[in-house]
């Protein structure tokens, strides 16, 4: 089966979720990857390691305009005869895959968490991670948008052939005036380790113990909604049902009660550590490891323990 995988190469380097999408595609068939912009030939050839035979790159335009990218992927799908098209369900994928579904009249499964089952249905997260659904696609052509961090990239091959190609992308009707990418911070949706805190921290002046631990770990920082709403922390750190949904490998939550709307954004995390003074806090039911104790003492102690661990490893 011919599989086409869209790769977002608009950043400085190709993100891990692109390798995940190629790995996923490889398990379904022969993979061609498609992208635009200025990514180096070497970086694109690297996709071969994860299973892409070929990479089609359209150098005539840069950026992430969803109308242009939809046309690009549609042209590549026609050229390769792909019957399955894979996206990472990141912010670009979420804008492009639905458009492509209409353009190709191909059923879209967004937020896939795993490979298709024997009956052809594809598991997705529903109800903000509180359940899985199995989706059946009734069209021959399928589009699958893979939830980031659902499987590990696997190195199976060598270099891919990189081929220049014209995706007939047309012009963008959206003008980009400004792009702000806060420097030095690890973007929350991509972070593998996250340290988060809630109202239990009492005030913004106490966040040093949170950011210190995050820095030692190389983790991103997050918070509960009331913390962002009262301006203790910036809005982009708010996780949960109405904030960002994340699925890091490790989520450390201090002074957060674990309300159902908070859990909805973090229950996809592989491992959850909860630090709370109240042993009855509902978050402990969702935790793998729990520390019943005062965050003001436990966080600095954990920070020291990690420093010690890092020094001896």
């Amino acid at each position: 089966m011919s599989v086409l995988v869209y790769i977002d190469s608009s950043g400085d380097k190709i993100a891990k979720n692109a390798y995940e999408a190629v790995t996923y595609g490889k398990k379904l068939g022969d993979v061609t990857a498609v992208t635009n912009g200025k990514a180096s030939e070497g970086d694109l050839a690297e996709l071969g390691k994860y299973g892409a035979d070929k990479v089609l790159v359209d150098r005539s335009f840069e950026g992430i305009d969803d109308q242009q990218l939809t046309k690009l992927v549609a042209t590549a799908a026609e050229k390769t005869g792909a019957t399955t098209i894979v996206f990472s369900n990141d912010l670009v994928g979420k804008a492009v895959a639905p458009r492509l579904s209409v353009r190709l009249n191909a059923g879209l499964v967004s937020g896939a968490t795993d490979l298709p089952k024997e009956d052809g249905t594809i598991p997705v997260n529903v109800f903000s991670g509180k359940a899985f659904g199995h989706v059946k696609v009734s069209t021959d052509k399928k589009i699958i948008a893979l939830l980031p961090n659902s499987l590990q990239p696997e190195e199976t091959g060598s270099e891919a052939a990189v081929e220049e190609f014209d995706g007939n992308a047309g012009d963008s009707r959206v003008e980009v005036l400004d792009t702000k990418l806060p420097e030095g911070e690890i973007p929350l949706p991509e972070a593998e380790l996250v340290v988060s805190a809630g109202r239990g921290l009492k005030g913004p002046e106490n966040w040093g113990i949170v950011t210190d631990l995050a820095e030692t770990l190389g983790a991103a920082t997050a918070c509960s909604r009331p913390v962002a709403d009262t301006g203790w922390r910036p809005h982009h750190e708010h996780v949960g049902q109405t904030g960002v949904a994340i699925r890091p490998n490790l989520y450390i939550a201090a002074g957060i009660s674990g309300a159902i709307q908070h859990l909805a954004g973090v229950n996809g995390s592989k491992v959850i550590v909860v630090i709370n003074t109240d042993e009855e806090a509902p978050f402990f039911k969702a935790a793998d490891y729990g520390v019943v104790g005062d965050a003001f003492e436990v966080l600095p102690r954990l920070n020291e323990a990690i420093k010690k661990f890092k020094a001896s490893n």
Binding site: D66, T121, V137, S138, E175, H236, Y289, G290
Partner: protein, 246 residues
């Protein structure tokens, strides 16, 4: 300015999720429905603010059955001028988007505003699909939207940051946090909503491309392992050797 706001219903955020009919259907027994928060707090309220500043109308559109009317009335109570319900069960994003696009083609809307996602199925699909049907730009995850004359300026979330973009109307915009502040309907609004027009349109029998055939609850978590707050070396050891995450 003519604004169309897409309104869907969603189970109240505290709903306990369970399934019936051999795990093939979401169990709606006793479920309380609310207006999908992103549609209500951000799309609808920003639509109303733009109308208040520039003049025009705010119409809501919902693909759904008579069961959706309570949430539609809530949107009217918050301030929409009129509402349209396209009379069919909403089962698939492609179907919903096609129905809305077919309806929107008859109305010459300057802006179509949606929520960033429905909190039940979390698809984030409907907006892009409507935009493709109408051949319009789609600005996703907008946290700011201003309109001057025929041009909109928006902030949108991108991976790791924010982008400011400019585009001519008509546009499709999905709305996220930051767009507006939640409005609580007052008594007058609730009374007025009763007499505002809620028009029921026949569906255009749009195709469905996907269906949910089965649901499953996640495997229950094993009990939490408690660690002595004095002994963080033990936690680090477990995270390294047992959980293998550091």
């Amino acid at each position: 300015m003519k604004i169309l706001v897409c309104i869907s219903k969603a189970p109240d955020t505290t709903t306990k999720i369970s399934f019936t009919d051999g795990d093939t259907k979401f169990d709606t027994n006793g479920v309380k429905y609310i207006v999908n928060p992103y549609d209500e707090w951000y799309a609808l309220v920003r639509g109303l603010e733009l109308k208040e500043a520039n003049g025009g109308t705010v119409t809501t559109v919902t693909v759904g059955t008579a069961e959706d009317e309570a949430t539609i009335r809530k949107a009217l109570a918050i301030g929409a001028d009129d509402a349209v319900r396209i009379d069919t069960d909403a089962e698939d994003a492609f179907q919903v988007a096609t129905e809305i696009a077919n309806f929107a083609k008859t109305g010459d809307y300057d802006l179509i505003l949606l929520g960033k996602e429905t909190i039940d199925y979390n698809g984030s699909q409907v907006g892009g699909m409507i935009a493709e049907h109408l051949d319009q730009p789609f600005i996703s995850l907008a946290s700011k939207l201003d309109v001057e004359g025929n041009t909109a300026t928006l902030d949108k979330e991108i991976t790791g940051g924010v982008q400011t973009v400019k585009a001519d109307l008509p546009l499709v915009v999905s709305c996220a946090k930051g767009m507006a502040e939640q409005r609580i309907p007052n008594m007058r609004g609730i009374m007025a909503a009763r007499s505002k027009p809620l028009k029921v349109e026949a569906s255009s029998s749009a195709d469905k491309l996907t269906s949910f055939v089965k649901y499953q609850l996640p495997a229950p978590k094993s009990a939490v392992k408690l660690i002595d707050p004095e002994n963080m070396d033990e936690l680090v050891d477990l995270l390294h050797n047992e959980a293998k995450v550091i």
